[in-house]
């Protein structure tokens, strides 16, 4: 295969990977709901229900309050696009990505933060009291989660010697005896998992299934949205969840990811990826059933713990022989 041909194949793979993320997102959301329903002895909606919801919402006409500015209709597109751009930087089932040069983990974190920022603005824009409340809460959570996320990712980046995501994944995937997780990674994994739950609005921090004014964070910001705007926002939230799950799965357990572009490796990579992400989604569903939502003022404690863990991951890197 020539140099040009290989580049084209890789570019195609990037597109395929992003499409995988897009298509997978509603399924993962549905899977978590199904697991929760099963654990509560309900049969629950089908696994494909979120797809049906999205299709229905896309077909509806959006209603926009006359008091809103341009931010309100623009925010769904910005949130969706920034989340998808974050997905572009993510190695999904092939460990090296040709967009390696375009951005590293820090770019990924800030792309996601850009989405969060516009989500917060959109919540404030309509001027409803719930939206403002949700935005202020989201701002607290996002501010507290950011340092923990950065530190935990940096701890892993130090081990790999690069902040490029695909370099990190490629290195740990092709490592001899890659079955063994070095101790700093364990701390970073714990921290990143807590951050994932906080950033994607899962149970200990936010309850995605409720519309109770006192507790909701993510939902409160979306109350004013309808039609395709709401669909885009919901879809983007799903993609964000899948991006985080992919990050955890590929950085901490890159076993089986395709390191070469042979068809066998690719098939194995796709299969292993789907199994791993679904397993993680089931774990989240179980956690959501086991724990109650924390009071809002307890959330800083949880994220503080995540921050300390990620800090320790960094310290461990320098102390323990990797």
């Amino acid at each position: 295969m020539g140099g040009l041909g290989e580049v084209i194949v890789q570019m195609l793979l990037v597109v395929v990977q992003v499409i995988t993320l897009l298509v997978l997102a509603p399924f993962i959301v549905g899977l978590i709901r199904k697991v929760k329903a099963r654990l509560q002895c309900r049969s629950g909606a089908g696994l494909l229900q979120p797809y049906a919801d999205l299709v229905k919402l896309f077909g509806k006409q959006p209603v926009v309050s006359s008091t809103t500015s341009w931010i309100f209709p623009a925010a769904p597109y910005i949130v969706f696009a920034s989340t998808m751009a974050a997905g572009l930087l993510m190695p999904v089932f092939v460990s090296h990505s040709p967009l390696n040069f375009a951005g590293n983990i820090i770019a990924l974190v800030y792309l996601l933060a850009l989405g969060t920022f516009f989500l917060i603005l959109a919540g404030l824009d309509a001027g409803s009291s719930f939206g403002g409340m949700g935005s202020s809460r989201e701002a607290i959570v996002a501010t507290l989660a950011e340092p923990a996320m950065m530190l935990s990712i940096l701890a892993i980046a130090l081990t790999a010697g690069s902040t490029n995501l695909s370099t990190i994944v490629h290195q740990s995937a092709s490592l001899e005896g890659g079955l063994l997780v070095p101790p700093p990674h364990l701390m970073a994994l714990a921290a990143l998992f807590i951050v994932t739950l906080a950033e994607t609005g899962r149970v200990p921090v936010d309850n995605p299934a409720t519309h109770l004014e006192l507790t909701m964070i993510h939902e409160a910001m979306l109350l004013e949205y309808s039609g395709r705007y709401l669909a885009l926002m919901e879809w983007a939230a799903g993609i964000k969840l899948v991006v985080f799950l992919t990050l955890i799965v590929n950085v901490f357990a890159p076993w089986g990811i395709a390191t070469t572009l042979t068809p066998d490796a690719l098939a194995l990579g796709v299969a292993v990826y789907l199994v791993k992400v679904s397993t993680l989604a089931v774990v989240i569903g179980v956690i959501e059933s086991m724990f109650a939502k924390l009071r809002l003022f307890r959330v800083p404690e949880l994220l503080g713990a995540a921050f300390i863990l990620s800090l320790l991951a960094l310290v461990f890197f320098y102390t323990l022989r990797g």
Binding site: L180, P182, P183, L186, M187, E301, G304, L309, T319
Partner: protein, 221 residues
């Protein structure tokens, strides 16, 4: 052979880190019964570490210590503490000397201090467990901190037991475990201490209607 030594060393490190994670969970936890459960989990990891060290080094007496750890610290002591909690009808620690986020930050600082202190010593060691020494010191300090930060007698007992776990890990890390007779003595001591605290907490509850140890300061002769 060097690869398997390295692997073993990594595994021991991994188990020690799990012990430390349990410590942090205990510091962050307000529910007393969950604290006791976490202590039991930590002891289980400790037993796993000890068994691993025994397997890697061939010092068979450490197996005995691991079994004793499981029997006493995973089964008997948590049961005693749980019974105390049940009978006293206290479930939560509402007031603390240091609140949870500050406590976590302090513990993070303690870990860094422990690593800083052991930094010059560790490279001189030749045992495969030598890295655990830093973690053991950190666990001892966090256990001590828990005893200071918490007011309820039960959590102070958990802090003491966590300290004891740290000492055990330290002994395993520094010298592949203490002589058997010393270990037996230590286990007996811990068991007796658990029993005494169980009884002492009841007395405290009878006398003061609370198991807050700060009320002891009003005692007069």
């Amino acid at each position: 052979m060097p690869l398997s030594t390295h692997l073993g060393s990594q595994l021991v490190d991994l188990c020690s880190v799990l012990l430390l994670l349990c410590c942090f969970a205990i510091v962050a936890q307000r529910r007393l019964s969950a604290c006791v459960d976490l202590f039991a989990l930590q002891s289980l990891f400790l037993a796993a570490t000890a068994a691993l060290v025994a397997f890697l080094t061939g010092h068979t007496h450490i197996y005995l210590a691991a079994v004793l750890t499981i029997v006493i610290k995973v089964v008997i002591l948590p049961r005693i503490l749980k019974r105390v909690i049940e009978r006293l009808n206290v479930s939560r620690e509402l007031v603390m000397n240091v609140n949870v986020p500050a406590g976590l930050l302090i513990c993070g600082g303690l870990v860094i201090v422990a690593f800083f202190i052991t930094q010059p010593i560790i490279p001189l060691g030749y045992l495969l467990t030598r890295d655990s020494l830093a973690i053991a010191l950190a666990i001892i300090m966090i256990g001590f901190f828990t005893m200071i930060a918490r007011m309820k007698a039960v959590t102070q007992m958990v802090g003491f037991l966590v300290m004891e776990n740290g000492v055990f890990l330290g002994a395993t890390a520094a010298a592949y475990g203490m002589p058997l007779i010393v270990e037996l003595g230590v286990f007996f001591d811990v068991l007796v201490a658990g029993l005494i605290v169980g009884i002492y907490t009841h007395r405290l509850q009878d006398a003061f209607d609370s198991i807050d140890t700060s009320t002891l300061t009003v005692l007069k002769e």
